[in-house]
């Protein structure tokens, strides 16, 4: 399936009725308030949030002064470009180490999709014949290590795990050592889900990251905040608090195969300047995509792209 086809499958259902409504009130020419209100509805319902939505509508209003739009599609495209622009300005590919293992760490709240994203990354790199080590630094959740072990087997990655309840810092330490000793290309570190409101757990996370950077200079090369695409406005708070605790280099928005559009990423990108790097579109190892700002922005408005 094409990159955003899967996304759109879900989108089609929800965005269709909004779109037809907009279509029915659209008149070529200048923008009416009625139209802008409907546009606001689209963005709010995509979880973009009140503030980012207002900013976007304001800039559209500004930009459209003296301009006229022939069709709804025209207008959507303008708006989508606006959204894509937010991401484009902060876009950065996944960083790769000059030498030694490249280290990516997944962090985030419970159930957001960290472990599955690790599995997907493992799949991506082992398929490229790279040597991958997984670190099971979620020693807290029941059977979290077993979950990662299944994925390690399926993807052909090595796994470093300790017993349940042990120190995640120690897992990170051993995994870093193992990655170096085994000349791994990649070390992917899974961490326990934690709510950003838990101060002690955020401290624990800092420690894991510290251990990694001490053992492998320059690492972790990416600290990815994994956010469930279904998340509402709390996603922005999560991003703020996680970014304050550790250096978040990018986001992975998961579950975009569902009907949610992941609009909170727009709010996060515009307020915090954190780029989206990855997108999860299913539960299988192959269901991971690099983020495509234009495709994402277009699907936010339910615009069909010829190829995406």
């Amino acid at each position: 399936m094409g990159l955003f086809q899967k996304l759109k499958q879900g989108l089609a259902r929800t965005s269709n009725n909004i779109r037809s409504k907009i279509q029915s009130i659209f008149q070529p020419g200048a923008l009416t308030d009625e139209f802008l209100d409907e546009l606001e509805a689209v963005l709010i319902q995509a979880d973009v949030g009140v503030e980012a939505t207002t900013a976007l509508i304001d800039s559209l209003r500004e930009e459209s002064r003296g301009k006229s739009f022939e069709t709804v599609e025209d207008l959507y495209r303008t708006m989508a470009e606006e959204v894509a622009g937010i991401f484009a300005s902060i876009d950065a590919p996944l960083k790769v180490a000059g030498q030694g293992p490249t280290v990516y760490t997944m962090v985030g709240v419970n159930g957001s999709g960290k472990t599955t994203t690790i599995a997907k990354l493992a799949h991506r790199y082992t398929s490229q014949n790279k040597k991958v080590v997984l670190a099971a630094a979620d020693t807290f959740r029941a059977a979290a290590g077993d979950q990662l072990e299944v994925w390690a087997k399926r993807t052909g990655a090595d796994l470093v795990r300790h017993s349940h309840g042990s120190d995640p810092g120690a897992v990170a330490f051993d995994a870093a050592r193992a990655a170096i000793a085994r000349k791994a290309d990649l070390l992917l570190v899974d961490t326990a889900g934690r709510l950003h409101t838990k101060k002690n757990l955020m401290e624990e996370l800092k420690k894991v990251i510290r251990v990694i950077s001490r053992e492998i200079p320059g690492a972790p090369h990416e600290v990815i905040l994994v956010i469930d695409g279904t998340t509402g406005q709390n996603g922005l708070i999560q991003a703020r608090v996680f970014a304050r605790a550790v250096d978040i280099t990018g986001l992975c928005i998961t579950k975009l195969d569902g009907s949610s559009k992941g609009g909170i990423a727009v709010a996060i990108a515009s307020e915090l300047g954190i780029p989206v790097k990855l997108v999860g579109v299913g539960e299988q190892a192959s269901d991971l995509r690099d983020f495509d700002a234009r495709g994402f922005a277009h699907s936010l408005f339910g615009i069909d792209q010829v190829e995406c």
Binding site: T14, E51, N110, G111, E149, T230, Q233, K255
Partner: protein, 440 residues
Amino acid sequence: MAFESLASRLADTFKKLRGRGKLSEKDINQGLREVRLALLEADVNFKVVREFIANVRERCLDAEVLESLTPAQQVIKIVHQELISLLGGRTHPLDISGPPPAVIALYGLQGSGKTTTAGKLALQLKKSGRRVLLVSCDVYRPAAQKQLEVVAGMAGVSFFTLSDRVSPEVIAKKGVEKAVESAHNVVILDTAGRLQIDDEMMDEARRIKEATLPRERLLVVDAMTGQEACQVAEEFDRVVDITGVVLTKLDSDARGGAALSIAKVTGKPIKFASLGEKLEDFQVFHPDRMASRILGMGDVLTLIEKAEAAFDQQKVAQMEEKLRRKQFTLEDFMDQMKEVKKMGSFGDLIRMIPGFARAQVDVDFDPKELARVEAIINSMTPEERQNPDIISGSRRRRIARGSGTTVQEVNRLLKQFFQARKMLFQMGSSDKRLGRLRLF
């Protein structure tokens, strides 16, 4: 912005309205606009908000409200009451009546917290004397069965599953049969996470229901869910006719507007609130508490009253002016601490304010520390107090010596000050209307 809450907005809007006495329809609309924004920011679904506001407006236009001497409180009360009634009005018990075993099936999206909820529910039922069997019907997610087995062990209840090559509805059915044989009187079915738009998986959910006829079919929903909560709940309800909802991750700082969306579109009660990773962190759902949470108020109303009573109004005005000009010195900081001390425990109070509960700022200093803080600040030169950014390492050592404290203590105070200043300025620029709540 970050620290806005309905409580502070309404306090402000209503202060203005109150000043004018009798309300007009326009005033009401003004106030309700704030309510609308707050609900949207709390993730209540757009359409649900629209309907909700329309209903509330009607009630607010009642002559009694318009002519009331305290219209602000009246409006808040109406909004709050409407929320509570939409959220189910009261607590709703689990229905495990009928011939045993009573079957409870848990459904939901991926990662919503079904497995943990299964364990929590099991523990609670066990404590009330039931013999519980936990059954894992999740044959998809790696180690999902294992996870439930571990959770069952932690809760001290029995566990059942079959190979992951057996279909979930068969596992569910065999689980119930097993419960009959072994005299378990409650069976909890943990099912795989599924998307409501995945027709195949939704059909499986229906087959599980048909195979076991669960008395309770609970939809487990993450409190952080956004606008799609409506679609999700509607579809699950359509397919398995849910009997109630469990709202999870309420130990986060999410406002949890999804609760309202779901209650509205399904008309089904929210039965439980899940509040942490420990199996004990599980409660009956209280609509009134949730209503306050969604509005970001509740205790904050008390706080405003308390603050109003405690603060020296003239100082408040001075302070507001200073913040507008982005001036905040260590002397102001000390003043604020003294004001706050009048109100009681600093940390507890401050955490009642929505933005502050989540701002991971170190506000936990003990009021008893005030004397030490005073000593430190008194050991500074007037210039240092006015412009703390100049306080270098050597100055810190001098101040520590002068005040009989340690450099660490001086550092800590300065850090607190800088954090407070940053926060105040952030709020200052984000919203000119927050008024007195800013002052802490």
